[in-house]
């Protein structure tokens, strides 16, 4: 009798397989993830694969200054003779670390605030959303400039400044999703069944926001890296001699256009990683859009 009622006669094609097929057929998603994987691998394995690992530190090699890209120095050398390729690899580490820490703080905070504001409404909504409005009115870069000017310029202070404003986007996003979900029957059912507000927020509502958060966070990686690079370019982020992509672009700019590789190649590296995360985010969004239509 159970089997007859169950009526599952067709073999199930698992969701994971279906998602994989859709994902792997989407050129945007595939290229994006390929780039991200390459960058991640480069960053993680930098100490092992970098040709001149000691060039990360305060090393000078005046005889090898300003050398163009060659078989010996793949990206050429900078004004004090350091291998640019090595520094780019290690620069990726710093960029990704910055983004991971910033987003690791901003996303949970922003999502939680959005959930609370969206579900409870009333005073919670008013306080949180007006705070969000105020924070959104401040341009992140200007804020970062202000913070690092007051405190001393350093990577940590740069991360603080960006994180302090970044959560607002996620709050806005999660708030609007939660507001729609709040009236769904499964949320009402959870209420009548006696679920605690904590359960409703994090076990019922949050999973339904997961795809939006994932897409936004992927895109955010690219943006945060760009902002971090901009701060370093202005001299307010990572301090020399640490290899940072933004700093490298700034230093190399003095030697354009003759010694183009010192500025453009680190710049291309920034472009590469930002592009990768953007494509990945877009691909994920395409994937989830179809899924939500189901």
């Amino acid at each position: 009798m159970s089997a007859a009622v169950a009526g599952e006669s067709a073999p199930r094609i698992s969701t994971a397989y279906q998602n994989w097929r859709r994902f792997s057929r989407n050129p945007t998603a595939v290229i994006g993830s390929a780039i991200v994987v390459i960058v991640l691998a480069a960053a993680l394995l930098a100490p092992l694969i970098a040709p001149y690992p000691d060039h990360v530190g305060a090393v000078v090699n005046f005889r090898a200054r300003h050398l163009p890209p060659s078989a010996r120095y793949w990206f050429g050398t900078d004004n004090v003779g350091r291998d640019i390729f090595t520094r780019v690899l290690f620069g990726y580490r710093i960029s990704l670390l910055l983004a991971a820490v910033v987003l690791g703080a901003a996303v949970p905070l922003g999502a939680t605030l959005g959930l609370v504001a969206g579900y409870f409404g009333g005073w919670a909504e008013i306080v949180i959303m007006r705070l969000t409005d105020v924070a959104l009115a401040i341009p992140p870069l200007v804020m970062a400039l202000a913070v690092t000017a007051v405190l001393t310029p350093s990577l940590v202070h740069a991360m603080l400044a960006i994180a302090a404003l970044w959560w607002t986007w996620h709050t806005r996003l999660i708030f609007s999703i939660t507001r729609t979900l709040r009236t769904q029957e499964f949320v009402e059912a959870a209420r009548t069944l006696g679920a605690s507000p904590f359960h409703i927020l994090f076990r019922e509502l949050l999973p339904n926001c997961a795809s939006a958060i994932l897409v936004k966070t992927s895109l955010d990686f690219g943006f945060v890296i760009l902002i971090g690079a901009a701060l370093s370019y202005l001299g307010l982020g990572v301090q020399p001699p640490a290899p940072d992509l933004g700093t490298m672009v700034a230093n190399g700019a003095d030697f354009l256009p003759d010694r183009w590789w010192e500025s453009l190649l680190p710049g291309a590296a920034i472009l590469f990683v930002a592009l990768g995360f953007n494509l990945l985010g877009d691909g994920l969004r395409d994937l989830f859009d179809v899924e939500s239509v189901r």
């Binding site: 007859a4 009622v5 009526g7 006669s9 067709a10 094609i13 279906q18 097929r21």
Partner: protein
């Protein structure tokens, strides 16, 4: 039915291809919709009535669906042999569709008059006809009167949100009537409406069929609506027509075991329902049973049912596809 019916679906079979597997979603479906008749296509979810409707209108998603065989004759021409452009020319003009959900089928940011006017504009362009804006508006008012809207001018100026469900459904019918179609396909008309409003809509459709000679094909899952409104009925199960005939005759003397089981499931106003349901479930269309698709669930199934049954005559206007018609009496 002496003259050739306006719409004649002949042995239509449609497959769906997904992840390399073929699902035989429609098998040998035949039905006729003559002018001046209200024909109902009834079945439960998954029986293929929507696929049939889409195939007739030409809006079947071409991959993954594929017409395997059969013909759809409209006014003598096989729609499946026409080019996309010729098909497009017919759609919305000679054959029109009334959609299911009046709440979501209308664009909320345009007035009724704007939406109907736009439809007229496109139809005119396709037919190479030129009409002034005022003439279009006059036609809109005219059609709104045909669907018994009080105060058509005010309705044309209104936004969908200002109208009730019943009025919106009438607007959908009016939109279908704009180009004077000869065939109307109505998808679950009134399903989203109250019983009292639904009765009014069905009466309107009836009058349109009688007074204007329309051929009306109604797709529904509601047997009561079929009995009260339709002249002829086709009962579908798992992609095939299992029984068809004149409504009064078929409901009075249902012969196919599925039709009988289905009618048994409908609670009666007279009370005494047993709520047994039908054991089992729909077959897997990618590995369907050979022969009669209802056999696995049929209390009368025998070994002969592994051969596909043909539609056998029960009486002058009543046919059922079952090998055991005599025993089902």
């Amino acid at each position: 039915m002496t003259a050739d019916p306006l719409l004649s679906v002949r042995s239509l079979s449609v497959d769906f291809w997904s992840y390399g597997r073929r699902s035989q979603v429609l098998r040998d479906v035949s039905l006729d919709v003559p002018a001046h008749r209200h024909v109902a296509l009834v079945g439960e979810s998954g029986c293929g009535k929507s696929v049939t409707m889409r195939a007739i209108m030409g809006i079947l998603a071409a991959p993954p669906a594929r017409i395997a065989s059969g013909a759809i004759l409209f006014d003598g021409r096989d729609l499946l042999r026409l080019s996309a452009r010729e098909r497009e020319a017919l759609r919305g003009t000679a054959m029109a569709m009334v959609f299911q959900d009046p709440m979501t089928s209308l664009n909320p940011v345009f007035t009724i008059g704007d939406q109907m006017g736009a439809i007229l504009r496109y139809a005119d362009r396709r037919l190479g006809r030129a009409r002034s804006r005022r003439a279009r508006l006059a036609r809109v008012h005219e059609v709104l009167t045909q669907v018994r809207m009080p105060d058509p001018e005010r309705i044309a100026r209104s936004f969908p949100i200002m109208l009730s469900g019943g009025m919106r459904q009438r607007v959908l019918i009016a939109m279908a009537l704009l180009s004077e179609p000869r065939l109307l396909i109505a998808d679950e008309p009134g399903a989203a409406l109250d019983v009292t409003t639904q009765a009014q809509i069905l009466k309107l459709l009836r009058d349109l069929v009688d007074d204007r000679g329309l051929a009306l094909l109604m797709i529904t899952h509601n047997l009561g609506v079929v009995r009260e409104a339709a002249d002829d009925v086709y009962v579908m199960y798992a992609g095939s027509v299992v029984e068809h005939g004149a409504t009064a005759e078929l409901f009075a003397r249902p012969r196919h075991p599925y039709t009988r089981a289905l009618l048994d499931c409908v609670p009666k106003l007279s009370g005494g329902a047993t709520f047994r349901g039908i054991d089992g479930s729909l077959p897997d269309y990618s590995a369907p049973p050979p022969g009669c698709r209802f056999a696995p669930r049929c209390p009368l199934a025998i070994s002969a049912c592994s051969r596909p049954p043909e539609a056998r005559r029960v009486s002058a206007d009543h046919y059922a596809a079952c090998w055991r018609l005599e025993d089902a009496a």
